[in-house]
C-alpha cells in the first residue's frame, strides 16, 4: 500500500518559500510604479536567498550557505537600493506605461506558469527540497521575467525583468545542481557583471535622454 511522502520541517518551509517566490514573480505583473517593481524584485530575491539557505542547511553545504548570504547582500539590498536611488534622483516619471494592461498581464503570467509546470513535468528530474516537478517554479520565473521585459517600455523595468529571469535560472541551479563546484564563482559573476554594465549604460542613457527611462523613443534602428 503506497504511503504518503514524508515531509519534514525543512521540506515544508522550502516548498512554502518556493510558492512565495513564484507569487512574488507574478505580483511583479501587478505593479506599475518603478519603485514598487524594484521592491517586489527585492522580495523575490529574498525568497531565492532563503531557498538557497534551506538547501545549504539540508545538505550541510557551507558553500551554499555562503552563496545564500551573498545573494541576500547583493540582490536584496545592494541592487535594489542602487536602482531605487537612481530612479529617485534622475528620473522625473515613476509610473511605467503598460504595453499590456494589468489584468491581461496577470492572465498571461498564470498561463505561462501553467505552461512551465506542464513542460517541467515531462523532465525526469528531482530538485533539492522542491516538490515535483522541480523545474516548474524556476521555469515560471524565467517565462514571467521574459514577459515582463517585453511588455514594459522602461529601462528599469527591463532590468527588473532580466533580474527576475536570472533569479529563475539561479533557483533552478540550486535546485537541480546544488553541487556544481564552480557554482559560487560563476553565480557571483552572473549577479555582478550585468549589474555593473547596466548602470554604466543606464546612466548614460539617462543623461542622453534628458532624464527619462522610457524606451518608447528607442525605435530609430529598424529593418
Amino acid at each position: 500500500m503506497p504511503t504518503a511522502p514524508h515531509y519534514d520541517f525543512v521540506h515544508a518551509t522550502a516548498a512554502l518559500v518556493a510558492i512565495l517566490a513564484l507569487l512574488s514573480g507574478l505580483a511583479l505583473l501587478l505593479v506599475k510604479q518603478v519603485h514598487e517593481q524594484v521592491r517586489v524584485y527585492a522580495v523575490l530575491s529574498a525568497f531565492a536567498a532563503g531557498y538557497t539557505l534551506l538547501v545549504g542547511i539540508h545538505r550541510v553545504d557551507a558553500a551554499l550557505i555562503v552563496l545564500a548570504v551573498w545573494t541576500a547582500l547583493i540582490k536584496v539590498i545592494l541592487i535594489p537600493i542602487s536602482i531605487d536611488r537612481a530612479v529617485t534622483r534622475q528620473v522625473s516619471e515613476h509610473e511605467v506605461p503598460l504595453f499590456v494592461q494589468v489584468p491581461m498581464s496577470l492572465l498571461i503570467g498564470v498561463t505561462l506558469t501553467g505552461l512551465a509546470y506542464w513542460s517541467a513535468s515531462a523532465l525526469p528530474i528531482h530538485g533539492a527540497l522542491l516538490p515535483t516537478p522541480a523545474l516548474g517554479m524556476p521555469l515560471s520565473l524565467v517565462l514571467v521575467g521574459f514577459f515582463f521585459m517585453i511588455t514594459r517600455q522602461n529601462v528599469i523595468s527591463q532590468i527588473v525583468g532580466l533580474l527576475t529571469l536570472e533569479n529563475g535560472v539561479f533557483i533552478a541551479t540550486v535546485a537541480i545542481a546544488p553541487g556544481l563546484p564552480f557554482a559560487i564563482g560563476f553565480l557571483l559573476l552572473l549577479d555582478l557583471l550585468p549589474a555593473v554594465v547596466f548602470y554604466g549604460v543606464f546612466a548614460r542613457l539617462i543623461a542622453a535622454r534628458a532624464k527619462t527611462t522610457s524606451i518608447e523613443d528607442m525605435a530609430v534602428l529598424r529593418g
Partner: protein, 491 residues
C-alpha cells in the same frame, strides 16, 4: 602548452591594465597592438606546435585544446590582432570618432581576452563565464561613439544578449544535472568528463539542455529569430568593434553551441543536433539573404551578411558528414578574415563620407582608389566570389550536401547565397564604381591619404581570405579535419 596559453591570455590582460593607467595616450594603442600580435603568435604555437588535433588538457584540467577549439582560437586570435592594428590607425590618427577614448583600449583588450579564453577553457561553467564577459565589454564598446543610436544599439544588445545567456546557463545546468546519476552530484563538468559519460546521461534532459543552450548561445551567434540585437550593434558600433563582433564574437558563441553539441550527440545521436542546426541555420540564411537586398545602410548590410554567414556555418554542420563539416569550419576562418576586411573598408568609407547611407556615397574608386579597391574586394570576398576562401568553403558545404544526398539543402544554399551576392554587390558597386557625386562631402577629407596601419590591417585580412582560397596549408588542413571529426561525434 599551458605556458603558451597563459602567455596568450596574459598579454591582453596586461595591455588592458596598461591602457587603464595610460588612458588615451598613444602608448595604450601600441601596447594593445603588441599584445594582440603576441597573443596571435601564442595561439598559433598552442594550436600547431603541440599537436592540438589529438585533444589535450593543459594546466591540470583547466584548459583543453582539440581540433574544434583550435579552429575557433585561430579565428578569434587573428581578428583580435588585425582589429588592434586597425584601431591604432583609426584612433591614433584621429580618423575614427570614439568619445570614450579613455576606455576604448582597456575594453578592447578585455574583449580580446574573453574571446581568446572561450575556446581554451575546459569546462562548461567557465566557458559560460567567458562568453558572458564578452557580452559585458562588447556592449560598452558598441556604445563608445556616444550617439543616441549607439546607446539604443548597446541597450538592445545587453538586454537581449544577457537574457539569451541566462537561458544558455539553464541549458548547461540541465546537462550537468543529466550527469549526476552517473558522475555524482559534485563532479566538474569538463568536456572530457561529460563526453566519456555521455552514453549514460539522461537523454531527455540532454535534449532539453541542448535546446536551451542553442537558443541561449544562439542569441549571441545571431541565429534567427534571436538575432534582433545584431544588426543594430554591428552597424552602430565603431567599425573595428563591428569587425570584432562579426569575425570573432559570433564565432566564439557558435563554439559554445558546438562544444555542447559535441557532447549531446554522443548521448542522443547526431541527428538531433543536426536537425536543430539545420532549422536555425536555414532560417538565418533565408531571412538574412532577403534583408540584405533591402538595406541602404552599408554597415547594416554587412551585419545581415554576418547573420547569413552564421546561417551557412550552421547549415553546413547540420548537413553533417566530413565534407560539409570541414567546409563549415573552414568557413568560420575565411569569414573571420573576409568580414574584418569588409568592416575595415566600411570604417574607412564612414570616416571619409561621414554617413552610413549608401545613397550618399559615390565615386570612391576615383577619390580614394585604395579604399575603393579594398571595399570592393571585401564585398566580393564575403559574397563568395572565386578565388576568395569563402567561395571554397561554400563549395565544400554544397559538395558535402550532395555527398549526403541532401540535394534540397545544397540547392537552397546555392540560391540564397546568390540572392545575398546580388544584394551586397549591387550596393557596394554603386558606392565604389557607379558615376555620380556624393552629397555634401569635404573633398579634402574624402581624398585624404591612406592611414598606413589601417591599410596594413586591410591587406592582412585580404591576404588571408585570398590565399586560403587557393591554398590550405597542411597543418590547417589537419586541424579542420580534426574539428570535423569532433562534431561528427568521434572524439
Amino acid at each position: 602548452m599551458a605556458v603558451w596559453i597563459l602567455i596568450m591570455l596574459a598579454l591582453p590582460l596586461a595591455a588592458a591594465g596598461g591602457g587603464a593607467v595610460a588612458g588615451d595616450r598613444p602608448v595604450s594603442g601600441w601596447l594593445s597592438v603588441a599584445a594582440a600580435a603576441g597573443s596571435f603568435a601564442a595561439a598559433l604555437v598552442v594550436v600547431f606546435a603541440f599537436d592540438a588535433v589529438r585533444g589535450r588538457h593543459a594546466l591540470g584540467t583547466a584548459f583543453f585544446i582539440d581540433g574544434l577549439s583550435g579552429v575557433f582560437l585561430i579565428a578569434v586570435a587573428f581578428v583580435y590582432a588585425v582589429v588592434a592594428v586597425y584601431s591604432a590607425g583609426y584612433l591614433l590618427s584621429g580618423i575614427g570618432h570614439v568619445r570614450l577614448r579613455r576606455w576604448y583600449w582597456p575594453l578592447l583588450n578585455v574583449f580580446g581576452l574573453a574571446l581568446l579564453a572561450t575556446p581554451v577553457m575546459a569546462n562548461l561553467g567557465v566557458l559560460w563565464v567567458a562568453v558572458e564577459l564578452t557580452t559585458v565589454v562588447s556592449a560598452l564598446l558598441v556604445t563608445s561613439e556616444g550617439s543616441d543610436e549607439s546607446l539604443e544599439a548597446g541597450w538592445k544588445y545587453i538586454v537581449i544578449g544577457s537574457a539569451g545567456l541566462a537561458v544558455g546557463l539553464l541549458g548547461i545546468v540541465l546537462i550537468y544535472a543529466a550527469g549526476i546519476p552517473s558522475l555524482g552530484d559534485r563532479y566538474t563538468p569538463t568536456y572530457t568528463t561529460l563526453a566519456h559519460a555521455a552514453p549514460h546521461l539522461n537523454a531527455s534532459l540532454v535534449r532539453t539542455g541542448f535546446a536551451f543552450a542553442l537558443v541561449g548561445f544562439g542569441t549571441k551567434v545571431g541565429l534567427v529569430p534571436m538575432h534582433a540585437w545584431l544588426p543594430d550593434a554591428h552597424s552602430e558600433g565603431p567599425s573595428p568593434v563591428s569587425a570584432m563582433l562579426s569575425g570573432a564574437l559570433l564565432a566564439a558563441a557558435l563554439y559554445a553551441v558546438l562544444r555542447i553539441g559535441a557532447i549531446v550527440q554522443r548521448t542522443v545521436g547526431p541527428s538531433y543536433v543536426h536537425v536543430l542546426l539545420l532549422v536555425f541555420g536555414g532560417l538565418s540564411l533565408l531571412l538574412a539573404a532577403f534583408f540584405v537586398l533591402r538595406q541602404s545602410n552599408y554597415k547594416r548590410l554587412l551585419a545581415y551578411s554576418s547573420i547569413e554567414h552564421m546561417g551557412i556555418v550552421a547549415l553546413g554542420l547540420g548537413i553533417g558528414g566530413p565534407i560539409a563539416a570541414y567546409g563549415a569550419f573552414f568557413h568560420v576562418i575565411v569569414h573571420a578574415a573576409g568580414k574584418t576586411l569588409a568592416f575595415f573598408g566600411a570604417g574607412d568609407l564612414l570616416s571619409r563620407y561621414e554617413t552610413r547611407d549608401a545613397d550618399e556615397v559615390r565615386g570612391v574608386i576615383r577619390l580614394a582608389p585604395f579604399t575603393g579597391v579594398m571595399v570592393l574586394l571585401g564585398a566580393l570576398a564575403i559574397t563568395g566570389v572565386p578565388p576568395f576562401g569563402i567561395f571554397r568553403s561554400e563549395l565544400l558545404i554544397v559538395t558535402g550536401g550532395f555527398s549526403q544526398s541532401k540535394y534540397a539543402l545544397a540547392g537552397l544554399l546555392v540560391v540564397l547565397v546568390n540572392v545575398a551576392f546580388v544584394g551586397v554587390y549591387q550596393l557596394f558597386h554603386r558606392m565604389v564604381i557607379s558615376p555620380g557625386e556624393a552629397k555634401a562631402v569635404d573633398r579634402a577629407r574624402l581624398s585624404r591619404p591612406e592611414q598606413p596601419l589601417m591599410a596594413v590591417a586591410m591587406l592582412a585580412s585580404l591576404a588571408v581570405v585570398l590565399v586560403l582560397g587557393v591554398w590550405i596549408p597542411s597543418p590547417l588542413n589537419r586541424l579542420l579535419h580534426a574539428a570535423a571529426t569532433v562534431i561528427g561525434g568521434q572524439v
